[in-house]
């Protein structure tokens, strides 16, 4: 406080905007430092492991692009979920459902009318807008009855809704159907292709922008000079785009959080009755918060699963929701920066790193073939063939990752239940809240002392 006052006087800034806790430059600078530092550390670890184990450049660069992609898409969904849970206290465990609505709507809107699964043939931008709108509307449908209920009931409603959505898309009844004479379809169990997948479209669009294309060419030629394949370079372009979208999400959610609107959301999280007693129409605030979060989830789904070029109902299993929740819990609910950090920790360290190690081990060889069963693998230990045991582990890295996630969660719950950055409480106001300077200058001595004690 006193240091800040001192700095205030030094710089002669009359405004309180730069106070800690407010979205001032100081706080934003540290946060950016945390995120960039973490990502750089992740990159260094990946490169170091790759180099030490003799992985080829293309493989390393590809792994880094994968890490960046996953971190970015997780960050998007975690940020959206943080608006629901971290700010408003809405226990939404139907994240996958809202992502499904966004992605499917976009896929159905952009598919060509004569494709295997016919669509409306709209351009990608219209598809994205429709997808976000649809996710918001489904959010509203879920919210209207459920937000009257207590938090745990909302959880039940959302997860049920997410499964209903998934099973609806799976149903053969809507595989293809006709509305107002237009043929449409979800593809049922066999899924639907995304012709205008954001990956390709966005990269093509950027490569056509004058100025940007020069930058892209330069970047591409450096990488291809290092022996990196074009597809990997394209993945990097898309990862960059996603990082920009993450920044946009972050910006939007910080603004929401640091505003009177965000303050009401926070008060709903803390004690809704108090907010009502203070004259806030809490239902309306909850609905708005829920719809905005859902539409952001819809867009995140499009950018994530849409970029694979094909989706089917099993893309949106409940485990997607739980992974996102784990990332939010690791990072710390209530903090947007924490959300991004949690996304990076989960996607890069817990999820991608084990797979990376496994694929290096598989590529470079040198391991004996994996025993077919766990018993045989343990048996190999007793036969003094530990490498066979390791090979078994690498062979089953998918399930083992979940074990790792579980262990990390248990340790976190014991040591740091609020998450990595959950202890940081961000002030919900658009301005710094220290005593306004103009009264401080003149009445500091009088107001603070005599305005208080004597009364």
């Amino acid at each position: 406080m006193s240091v800040r006052d001192y700095l205030d006087r030094l710089t002669g800034t009359g405004r309180a905007d730069t106070d800690a806790g407010a979205p001032g430059d100081g706080a934003a600078g540290t946060d950016l430092g945390i995120v960039v530092g973490l990502m750089l550390a992740v990159y260094v670890v990946f490169v170091a492991i790759g180099v030490v184990l003799g992985y080829d450049t293309n493989g390393i660069v590809n792994a880094l692009s994968q890490v960046t992609f996953l971190t970015a898409v997780y960050a998007l969904v975690v940020l959206a979920l943080n608006l629901h849970w971290g700010y408003t206290g809405l226990f939404n465990i139907g994240v996958a459902g809202f992502m499904a609505v966004g992605t499917y709507t976009m896929a159905m809107a952009t598919a060509a009318p004569d494709a295997r699964v016919p669509g409306l043939g709209l351009p990608i931008w219209a598809g994205i807008a429709l997808g976000m709108a649809a996710a918001a509307v489904i959010g509203l449908v879920a919210a209207l009855p459920a937000l009257r209920l207590r938090a745990d009931y909302l959880a039940i409603v959302t997860i049920a809704l997410a499964e209903i959505i998934r099973l609806t898309y799976l149903s053969s009844a809507v595989q293809t159907f006709t509305v107002f004479g237009t043929q449409l379809g979800t593809g049922g169990g066999s899924g639907i292709g995304i012709e205008a997948d954001p990956d390709t479209v966005v990269v093509e669009f950027l490569a056509s922008v004058p100025g940007l294309n020069v930058l892209f060419d330069a970047f591409g030629s450096v990488l291809s000079g290092m022996g990196v394949q074009q597809s990997v370079i394209n993945n990097w372009y898309y990862a960059f785009v996603l990082l920009v979208v993450v920044v946009a999400y972050y910006w939007l959610l910080q603004r929401i959080g640091h505003s009177p609107f965000g303050r009401v959301l926070k008060s709903i999280r803390e004690d809704e009755d108090v907010a009502r007693a203070l004259g806030k129409n809490t239902r309306l605030f909850k609905i708005k918060s829920f719809m905005v979060g859902c539409s952001l989830m819809g867009l995140a789904g499009i950018l994530w699963f849409g970029s694979y070029g094909f989706i089917n109902p099993n893309t949106f299993l409940p485990q997607v929701t739980f992974f996102v929740w784990i990332a939010l819990i690791i990072g710390g609910a209530g903090s947007n920066t924490g959300g991004v950090v949690g996304a990076a920790m989960f996607a890069a360290v817990l999820f991608e790193l084990p797979r990376y190690l496994a694929s290096i081990a598989g590529d470079t060889g040198g391991l004996p073939s994996a025993p077919p069963t766990f018993a045989r693998a343990v048996g190999a230990l007793f036969d003094l063939e530990p490498l066979a045991f390791v090979a078994y582990g690498i062979d089953n890295i998918g399930p083992l990752r979940l074990v790792l996630v579980g262990v990390v969660l248990i340790v976190l719950m014991q040591r740091r239940p609020e998450g990595l950055l959950g202890h940081r409480k961000e002030t919900a106001a658009s301005i710094g809240l220290s005593r306004p300077n103009r009264s401080r200058e003149t009445t500091d001595a009088t107001a603070a002392t005599d305005g208080g004690e004597e009364q």
Partner: protein, 316 residues
Amino acid sequence: MSSDTAGSGSAAGDEPTAESDASGADTDAEAPASATGRDDDAGVTATGREADEVGAHIDGTPALAVKNLRKTFGGITAVDGTSFAVEAGKMTGLIGPNGAGKSTTFNLITGFNRPDSGQVLLNGDDITGKQPYEIADRGLVRTFQIARELEEMTVLENMMLGPQHQSGESLWRAVTPGVRSSVKRDEEKVLERVWEMLDFFDIAHLAEEYAGNLSGGQRKLLELARALMTDPDILLLDEPFAGVNPSLENRLLEHVHELREQGYTFLLVEHDIDLIMENCSRVLVLHQGKLLADGEPAEIKADERVIEAYLGGEVE
């Protein structure tokens, strides 16, 4: 001018004093030196109100009236056909043994429970069954029996939440570039009132503290201060002195009296009968959901039925 005043935006229309307050704040913004003129701090908001409030109710309409209010929970009749009125600018006490229906009555008045039958009139307008936020918006604000703070929010944030209809409570205003700067200007005005109020209640030194870290008594102060930030006409205080040490109790009482002199109307529920008798000009006694007695403290003290109710005797 009234359209851009932060907290008092809505009230500005029908309360001339609210406007003059806001314009006062505006001039302050231009001339920092005049800040010394606000030595009596929160009094500024309120001194102006006095004449206004009293004038508004000169016709004799009670500030708050309930008629034949009834509420049952399952087989229990919590409030059983209660009627009473609360005079504007006065402090009225509501007492009764445990389970007499005091808190339920509060909940029925403030919209947290819906009465089975009966009416609640605020300045003559029927507000029965309205939502709590609508009732608070009309100037009737309550506090809770057990101080309910927003624990993971700072004292400042708690206070900033109070004012009604802040421009930044609209989502698009809060995020749209350009428009947001007007939100910030409104926030600065709110912030100024917040600090005045904190000074008035002598809790400015706790401003940056999380509400969850405050002591019980400090929470009571904060809750009252926060309720005042909504710019209410009537305050319903549910056991504001429970669990408060005697010196803090005296301070709270002083504040309440000062506010009453400024024109606020109070209805308080309290268990401490002596405290009610000494401080209220009128006392309502509830017993088993019914109004047992209604009168000046002296009358109530002499009332046989009240004594019996408190000593657990039979009531006819």
